[in-house]
């Protein structure tokens, strides 16, 4: 066992740190981290940040050098996430493009697709969204009903997508459609790289329970796609989807490190806030609860390290890596639930009126999304039960 980083890895960390100190938005490291509220400025701010990352060579470090990446090792990727979390960097507006769409196109896209999209994804010129879920197809994605029908050499697309992250900012959508009806649920699915800037595409933002607007409904009414927009083969979109998911090599590194940081914030709160004249941390109930959370959050991080080790040794993650998302998202929810519960009645106050830091209240609300997005905890448990423990499959699947 060895938890040290090599000299080369530490050098990499130093280089990134140095670059961040110079290039993060003004005042960011000093704590001025408020993002613009209206869409237009928000979008511009994040696109500018991605452009800055791109110019520094930090937008897509895991990409091959020939596409403008750094050919980063897995450990460098992990360090990258650690450092980005440490400075609480602005979100990567083109996360879907950089981490999912582009690597998939590199693997199975046509030359023309690579030529047209990859560089624009890297620079942030083109922001991507993912058109997966529909009103009737959530956890059961194969139930999707958006259709693409060929007519006069074009594909005419009709249907509705929902929970489409970043769609209101996006230029393109990685869209799942049905191009033929089949007995087998995973067949007849086709992936389009849809141009969002057309009459048949309408985007309506959804206001989340935490007040943010990160995802959308997308209405497709005779939207037009071309043969050139199809990824992989027509009707074989499920395989493309699986390939896309496998590109997440560093897994949930960012969430693991974020959870660790959030825990430290809660400790900070417990050391600062007094209830009944007593520092929270000196209350045995609080101490006990936080020590329990420390063990479990540290355990989740160590699980992640164990899975990384597996990838380093075997070239791919082991089956147990599928536990990481479930554990980390559930723990995030529990952490903020506990953080809220110890604040006493002043815990109902938020923003500038909150006892400690309004962030705690909004992060509490945001935490409810973690166990739903990207596969609900229930679906995760089904998958783990069936793939790892070999339990019989659900009748519906």
């Amino acid at each position: 066992m060895d938890f040290t980083f090599t000299e080369k890895e530490e050098k990499f960390r130093g280089e990134l740190r140095g670059w961040l100190e110079v290039n993060l938005p003004k005042g960011w490291l000093q704590g001025e981290r408020k993002l613009p509220e209206d869409n237009e400025h928000y979008s511009k701010f994040l696109r500018d940040w991605q452009r800055t990352l791109y110019e520094g060579g930090w937008a897509a470090i895991s990409w091959p050098k020939e596409y403008g990446g750094r050919d980063a090792t897995l450990m460098e990727e992990i360090i990258y996430h650690q450092e980005m979390v440490r400075v609480q960097s602005p979100p990567l507006v083109n996360y879907i493009g950089i981490h999912m769409v582009a690597p998939t196109l590199m693997q199975m896209g046509t030359d023309a697709q690579k030529e047209e999209f990859i560089e624009k994804i890297l620079t942030g010129e083109q922001v991507w969204s993912q058109g997966y879920s529909e009103p009737g197809a959530g956890s059961d994605l194969t139930a999707l009903q958006t259709t693409a029908v060929k007519k006069d050499g074009k594909w005419v697309i009709n249907g509705q997508k929902v929970w489409t992250s970043f769609a209101h900012l996006a230029d393109r959508c990685f869209l799942l459609t049905k191009t033929s009806q089949s007995e087998k649920k995973h067949e007849g699915i086709t992936v389009f790289l849809l141009d969002m800037d057309q009459e048949g595409v309408e985007t309506r933002p959804i206001v989340q329970m935490d007040g943010h607007q990160e995802f959308n409904e997308v209405y497709l009414t005779d939207a037009i796609g071309t043969d050139e927009d199809i990824v992989g083969e027509e009707g074989k979109g499920w395989a493309v989807l699986i390939a896309l998911m496998l590109h997440e090599r560093s897994g949930i590194a960012a969430q693991v490190f974020t959870l660790e940081q959030q825990f430290e914030q809660v400790i900070e709160m417990a050391k600062t806030v007094r209830v009944n004249g007593c520092l929270l941390i000196d209350d045995p109930f609080v101490e006990d609860g936080l020590a329990d959370l420390y063990a479990r959050i540290n355990g989740a991080k160590l699980n992640y390290y164990r899975n990384i080790t597996h990838t380093l040794k075997n070239g791919r993650p082991g089956p147990e890596s599928s536990l990481d998302k479930l554990l980390v998202s559930e723990l995030t929810k529990e952490l903020f639930d506990f953080a809220m519960s110890i604040q006493g009645h002043p815990g109902v106050l938020t923003n500038d009126d909150s006892t400690f830091d309004g962030e705690m209240q909004s992060q509490y609300l945001a935490s409810f999304g973690a166990t739903i997005g990207g596969g609900t905890s229930e679906v995760q448990r089904n998958t783990i039960g069936e793939r790892i423990l070999g339990l019989p499959k659900d009748l519906g699947r």
Binding site: M1, D2, F3, F5, M75, I78, I267, A270, K271, R274, N276, G277, C278, L279, I281, D282, D283, P284, E287, D288, L290, A291, D292, Y294, A295, R296, N298, G299, A300, L302, N303, Y305, R306, I308, T309, H310, L312, K313, E320, L323, L326, L327, E378, R381, N382, I384, G385, E386, I388, L389, G390, L391, P392, K393, D394, L395
Partner: protein
């Protein structure tokens, strides 16, 4: 980054597992319940032949000079079958205490015998009130011409497999002190009735019993705390072994037990329950590896690593066993199935030489979360 056991350690695990299979797994624990105690000594000498008893002992005294991480596969595999005996107390508590605080003569007199599997050492620590860290001991050590004479009563003393030596605590002029006492010098002992019948506990009475001072007088608590870091890391491995077996056993049962025309493992209530056991198991394993690594390398966060592992795993082991009983249904409530043995063992370990609450408090202390005692507010007592 390398967070895994080494290839050698994994190979050693395979060997230990094979030996446990040869011993018919939980049959040894069941033999103890039915009063056949010679199996314990057999298992100990079998393990000694494989080199297990020499692992943590330094080379000068006939050991292998290996570390806490090398004990991980051993205790996971012995824990998996609930092997009865004093392996934990001897190898993970008495040995580290002797290695750290014993004199050259004390080490030479005892450790080669332990390494050879000819001796096991137990801990006679608790007194009537069951405090782990009492303000003082009622057991008194009086100075004599050639050493000390101890008088008092110790309880909850593990005696399975006939230990020849006890490490005990007694009050001296300097405060609480550690002593080595020969089992043959004990005045009398009374066997106690234990919930986990694979354990044997006694109340022992010392009457002018000769005791050999271990370490500095008055420092019993500090020394025990140090020794317990080793002990708890090993105990965690043992509990992880038990949890691993529970997850396997329960998943297998859910695949073959048919109700409503389908294996019950198809129902999400059952499936998700077993997945939750698996989640706890993996967290427990990671925490136990890290605890052993922290002990072996004397890491800065050693205390937090060990105590957080212990607090999580003690609880998770009980929960895994309890959930396993429920998922097994009626058969889970019977004596016939092994699950209840795991539950009783988990319960036995729950507060053994430290409770979950103690470990959490120790975690918080070692991470320096609290305000300094001087500035600290009085906590309202309800």
């Amino acid at each position: 980054m390398d967070f895994a056991l080494s290839e050698e350690q994994e190979l050693f695990r395979t060997a230990i597992r094979k030996y446990m299979n040869d011993l018919d797994r939980t049959e040894i624990a069941r033999s103890v319940i039915s009063g056949k105690l010679d199996v314990v000594a057999n298992a100990t000498s079998g393990l000694a032949e494989m080199g297990v008893t020499a692992i943590p002992i330094s080379e000068e005294v006939d050991g292998l000079g290996l570390g806490a991480l090398d004990l991980v596969p051993v205790f996971e595999e012995t824990g998996r079958v609930l092997l009865p005996g004093l392996q934990l107390e001897t190898l993970a508590l008495a040995v580290p205490l002797l290695e750290s605080f014993g004199t050259t003569a004390q080490k030479a007199a005892r450790l080669p015998k332990v390494a050879a599997g000819e001796s096991s050492i137990s801990i006679a620590w608790y007194e009537k009130d069951g405090s782990l860290f009492p303000n003082s001991f009622s057991c008194i050590a009086a100075k004599t011409e050639c050493g000390y004479a101890l008088t008092g009563t110790k309880t909850l003393v593990p005696v399975i497999g006939n230990p020849d030596t006890y490490i005990t605590g007694a009050q001296t002029a300097e405060g609480k002190s550690l002593f080595l006492v020969k089992a043959s010098d004990i005045a009398s002992s009374r066997m106690l009735s234990v919930l986990d019948e694979t354990q044997q506990l006694a109340e022992i009475t010392l009457k002018q019993t000769p005791g050999e001072l271990l370490g500095e007088p008055g420092r019993a608590t500090d020394m025990l705390k140090e020794g317990l870091l080793h002990f708890n890391a090993a105990l965690c491995s043992s509990m992880v072994g038990g949890m691993d077996e529970l997850v396997k056993m329960t998943a297998e049962y859910a695949k073959i037990r048919v109700q409503f025309n389908q294996p019950i493992g198809r129902f999400q209530a059952i499936k998700h329950g077993i997945v939750n056991m698996k989640l706890d198991l993996e967290t427990a394993r990671s925490l136990s590896y890290y605890a052993a690594w922290a002990v072996e390398t004397n890491a800065e966060d050693k205390s937090a690593a060990v105590h957080s592992a212990r607090s999580f795993i003690s609880k998770a082991f009980i929960k895994a066993a309890a959930d396993s009983i429920q998922i097994h249904g009626g058969i889970g409530f019977t004596e016939e199935l092994d699950v209840h043995l795991y539950l009783k063992r988990a319960r036995y370990y729950d507060s053994y030489l430290g409770s979950v609450r103690d470990s959490r408090r120790a975690t918080a202390r070692s991470l320096g979360w609290h305000s300094t005692p001087a500035k600290r507010d009085a906590v309202p007592v309800s």
